[in-house]
Symmetry: C2
Subunit: 666 residues, 2 copies
Amino acid sequence: MDSIPMILGFVGLATAFFIYRVVLRYPAGEGKIVEISGAIHDGAMTFMRREYTILFLFAFAITIAIWFSDLGWHTAFAFVVGAVCSSAAGYIGMYTATNANVRTTVAAHQAGADAALGVAFFGGSIMGLTVAAMGLLGLGLLYLMFGQDPHTAHIIHGFGMGASTVALFSRVGGGIYTKSADVAADLVGKVEAGIPEDDPRNPGVIADNVGDNVGDVAGMGSDIFESYCGSIIATIAIASTLSPAIIATLGEQQNLMFLPLALASAGILCSMFGIWLVKAFARKSPQVALRIGTFSAAVIFIVAAYFVIATLGINTNVWFAVLSGAVGGIIIGLVTEYYTSGSPIRKIARGGETGPATVMILGLATGMQSVVVPVLSLAAIIFLANITADLYGVGIAAVGMLATVGITMAIDAYGPVADNAGGIAEMGELGEETRRITDTLDEVGNTTAAIGKGFAIGAAGLAALAIITAYLAAVAENYEQGIALNLNDPEVLMGMFIGAIFPFLVSALTMTAVGDAAFEMIKEIRRQFREIPGLLEGKAKPDTTRTVDIATKAALMRMVAPGALAVISPVIVGFVLGPKTLGGMLGGALLGCVLMALTMANAGGAWDNAKKYVEQGNLGGKGSETHKAAVVGDTVGDPFKDTSGPSMNILINVMAIVSLVIAPML
Amino acid sequence: MDSIPMILGFVGLATAFFIYRVVLRYPAGEGKIVEISGAIHDGAMTFMRREYTILFLFAFAITIAIWFSDLGWHTAFAFVVGAVCSSAAGYIGMYTATNANVRTTVAAHQAGADAALGVAFFGGSIMGLTVAAMGLLGLGLLYLMFGQDPHTAHIIHGFGMGASTVALFSRVGGGIYTKSADVAADLVGKVEAGIPEDDPRNPGVIADNVGDNVGDVAGMGSDIFESYCGSIIATIAIASTLSPAIIATLGEQQNLMFLPLALASAGILCSMFGIWLVKAFARKSPQVALRIGTFSAAVIFIVAAYFVIATLGINTNVWFAVLSGAVGGIIIGLVTEYYTSGSPIRKIARGGETGPATVMILGLATGMQSVVVPVLSLAAIIFLANITADLYGVGIAAVGMLATVGITMAIDAYGPVADNAGGIAEMGELGEETRRITDTLDEVGNTTAAIGKGFAIGAAGLAALAIITAYLAAVAENYEQGIALNLNDPEVLMGMFIGAIFPFLVSALTMTAVGDAAFEMIKEIRRQFREIPGLLEGKAKPDTTRTVDIATKAALMRMVAPGALAVISPVIVGFVLGPKTLGGMLGGALLGCVLMALTMANAGGAWDNAKKYVEQGNLGGKGSETHKAAVVGDTVGDPFKDTSGPSMNILINVMAIVSLVIAPML
C-alpha cells in the first residue's frame, strides 16, 4: 500500500502526457501565427534555461552545505530530488502551455468557443496534473526510502527545501519578468504610441506574452507545488513527533504518517475526474464547466477522504480537519472573488471621477478590508482542526485544502493560456470573431485567476503554519524538557519583530525591482520606435529578442537578493540567536506574509477589474479622465498582485522549511 | 518621597500656566487677523465640545460597566481620573495653541523670526508640559492611594484605560477631521478654482486650519499622553507581579514600583530645562535651537536616571534599560527623518516623470522599507532591556523613551502652531516677508513632525509591549501554575491571526472615512463657489461655519465604529475565547500596528516632501506633469500619515490596556 502514492504519481504523469498528445493533435496554425507563437515559446524557454542555470549554482551550493553539515547526504539527496521535481514540473508546464496557446487561437478561429475552451483547459490541466504527480512521485519515493521510520522521516524535509528554493526563484523572477514587460509594453505602446494592446508593432509585446507564461504558469505552478509538498511533509513531520497520548487517541503512528500521502493520492484521482467533467461540460458556458469541475472534485474528495481515514484505522474525527481545510479553501477563494468584482470594484471605478488619488485610497482600503474573512477562516480552521486532532489536525487541514491541486492548478494555468491565445489572435490579425471568443475565455480566466490567487495564499499560509508547527516539534525533541515558545519570552518577542520585517522588506525590494526593470524596458521600446524606420507604420519589424533579453536579465538579477535573504536569514537567526528567536521570527513572518499577500493580491485584482469595468463603457469609458485614473490604479496593482503579493507565499514557506531542515542541529 | 511625582505635576502645570501668561502678553493683532484666528479658535473649541459630549456618553457607559463588574468602584474611579486628565490635557493644549498661532503671525510681522519662533514654541511647550504634568498629577495621586501595595496596584490600570479611550476618539476623530478638510480644501480650491492655499475666499480654509489643531495638537497630544501613562502603568504592574528571585537581584519591590514615576519626575524637570534652552538659543536658526533643546534634555535625563536608580537602591543594571529606550527613541526618530527627506524623496519625485503610478509604487516601497531599522531597534531594545532587568526592563525602556515627553511633545505641537500662523498670515494678507518667516518656521516644523511621528510610533509600540507583558503577568496570577502563551498552542495562534486583522481593518475604515467625509466637503465647497455671488472675486464671504460643521459631524460619526471595535473586541475575545487567545490577539495586533503605522507614516511623509521638493522648482516645478503626479502621492499620503497611521498607535494601546484591566476577571 505504501507505494500507491508513487504509482499514482506515474499515473498522473502518464495522463498528463496523454493529454499533451491530445493537445498536439490540434492544428498549430500557419504563417505569421506560427512565427509569433514560436517567438513566445522560445522566449519562455530561454528564460527558463537561464533561470535554471542560476538556480543550479545556488542549489549546488546548498547541496554541498547540507551534505557536509550534520544533516548528511540523505538530506542533501532529498533536497536535490525536491529541486529536480519542482524544476521539472515548471518546465513541463511551461513547455506545454506555450504549445497550447497557439492551438487555442487556431481552435477559436476554426472550430469555435467550446473547442477553444477544451484546448486551453487541457493546456492548463497538464500543468495541474504534473504538479500533483511530481509531488506524489518524489514524496512517494522518499517516503518509501525514509518515511516509514519516525527517526529518519526528517530527511524528507530536504525535499521541501529543494522545492521551495526553486519556487522562490521562479515566483520572484517570474513575477518581476511578467510585470516589468507588461507595464513597459502598455505604457509606451498604449499610452505613448497610441497602438492597441498586443499590437505586433510593439517591441515589448512578445516579452509581455512570455511574461504571462513565466509568471502565471511556471511561477504559480512552483508556488502551489511548494505549498502542496510542504503541507504533506509538515504533516508527516508532525506525525513523527506526536506524543504517545495523542497517538493513542488518533491511531497508529505509521498510518498517521502515511495519511497525508494517502489523501493526496485520493486527491489526484478526484482531480482527474474533475478535469474530465470540465471537458464533458465544455459546451455549456466556460464559467459553468469550470465550476462544475472544481466543486465536484472537491466534494468527491471530501467523501473519499472519510473512507481513506477509516481504511487506515485512524480516528474519524480527523476527517473534520480535512473538511475544515477543504471548505476553508473554497471560502477564501469566494471572498477573493467578491472583493475583486461586483460592488467593491464599482466603488473604486466611481472614485476615479475625483482622480487617481481616490482610486488609490479606495483600492488600498479594499485590499486591507479583504483580509478579514480569509484570516478569520484560517483562525477557524486552526480551531476546528485542533479540537478534532490536535496540531496534527492543522497539517491535515492544509493537506485537505491542497489535495485537489490537480484541478485547481489546471484552472489557474488555463488563464494565461487563454490570455496568450488572445494575444496571438491580435498579433496574427485573425479577425474580430476569433478575438471575441478568446476574450470570453480570458475574462473567465481572470475570475478564476483571482480565486486561484486567494486559494494559493490561504494554502500557503496553512502549509507554512503546519511547517512551523513541525519545526517547533522537531526543535523540542532536541531538549530533554521540550522547549516553550512563550509570547512573553523576550527571545521569542524579538524574533517576532524581526520576522515581521521580512514581508515588508521583500515587498519593497520586489516592487522597486519591477519599477526599475520596467524603466529599462521603456527606454529600449522608445529607442526602437525612434530608431527603426517604418516600425510604427507596420513596414518594419521590431527587435523583440532585445526586449525579451532585457526582461530576462533584469528578472534574474533582481531575484537573487530577496531569494538569498529568505534562505539565509533563518540559518543566521537560528544559529546566532537560537531556536526560540527563530520560532518567533517564523510566527511574525507568517502573520505579515499572509496579511500582506491578501492585501496586495486583492487590491491589485480590484484595481485591474475596476479599470476593465470602465473600459466596458461605464463612467465615460475608455479615454475618459476616469479611465486614466483607473489605469493608474491598475499599474500600481500589477506588481502588487503578480510580483510582491505572490512572493509572500513563498517567502514564508522557504523560511519555514529551511528552519525545519536545520532544526535537528539547533 | 512618594508624593514628589504629584508635586512635580503641579509644578509642571504651574510652569505651563506661567508660559501661557507670557504668550498672552504678545499682541494678538487686530481687524481681519483677529476675526480669522477667532474663527479657527471657535471651530476647534466647538469640535472639542461636541467630541467630548460623545466621549462623555461612551465613558459614562464604561464607568458603569466597570463599577458593576468584579473590578468595582476603585477601578471605575481610576478610569474617570484617566479620562479627565487626558481630556484636560487635550483641551488646554488646543485652547492655548489656538491662541498662540495668531500671536506667532503678529510676532513674525512686527518683531521678526526669533520672536515668532519663541511664541510658536511656547505655544507648543504648554501642550508638552501639560501632557507630562497631567500624567504625573493623575498617576501620582493614584499611586498614593493604591500604588504602594502590590495587591491594589492593579486599580491604576483603570487610569490607563480612561486615557486610552479619550486618546482613541481624539486621534481617530481628529485624524478624520483634519484630512477630510485638508483634502477637500486643496482639491476644490487649489486644483479646481485655481486659488492659492489658505486663500480666504476658500470656504474650506477655516476647517482646514481647525483641522491642524484638532488632529496635530489635540490628537497627537492624547496619543503621546496615552503612551506616556501606559508605559508608567505597565511598569508598575510588571513590578507588582515580579517573582521573588528577580526582586532579589533588582532591589526592593516598593522601589521598583515607584521607579517609573521617579524617572518621569526627573524627565519633566529635564524637559523644562530643554524648553528654556530652546528659548535661549532662539536667535540661532530654529532648527539648531530645537535640536539643542531636545538632545540636551535627553542627555541630562539619561545621566539623571542613573542617580535616581542608585538613590532608590535599585540594581544599576536597570539603567541600561533606560539608556536603550532613550537612545532607541532617538534612532527611530532619525530613521524617520531619513526616509522622509533626502535621497528617498528625490527618487519618488523623479518617479513622477513617468506618472502618478510610479510615484505610488516608489512611495509605498519607501514606506515598507522604512520599517527595517525601527523594528530592529525595538528588537534590540527588548533584547538589551531584558538581559539587564528581565521583562521589567522592557517597561523601564518604554519609560526611558517617553520620560522627556515634555519637550518632544512641545516640539511636535510647535509644528501646527507655526503652520496655522502661516495660514493666518496668508488669509490676513500680511505680505511676503511675514509669510517667508512663517514658512521657515513651518518647514522646520514639518521635519520635527516627521521625527515626532516616528518617535510616537516607537513609543506606542514599546508602551503597548509593556502593557501586554503586564497583562500576561496579571493573567498568570489567576492560575496556580501560571499560564503559558506558547506560539504553537492553537488558542494562541488563533488569537494572533485574529489580532493581526485589526490594524488592516481599522486602516481601511479610517481611510474610507476620510474619503467619504472629504467628498461631502467637496460638494459643499463647490456649492458655495457656485451659489454665493461674488465669492471668487473676493466681494462676498464664504460660509465657513457650514464647512466646519460638516467636517465635525463626519469626524464624530466615523470615529465611533473603529473606536468601539478597539474597546469591545478584547472584552469579547477574552471572555468568550479565553485569556490565551486574547494574549495571542494582542501579540498579532502589536506586530501589525507597529509595521502598518511605520509604513503609512513614512510613505505619507515621503510623498508630502516629494511634492514639496517639486514645488521648490525641481523637475519642472509647480504645474508640471511631474508635479501633478507628486500631488496624487501627497493626497494618498494625507490619510496615510495623519489618520490611519496614527490610529494604529492608539489601537494597540487601547486593546492592550482594556485587556490589562479585565485581566483579574479572566
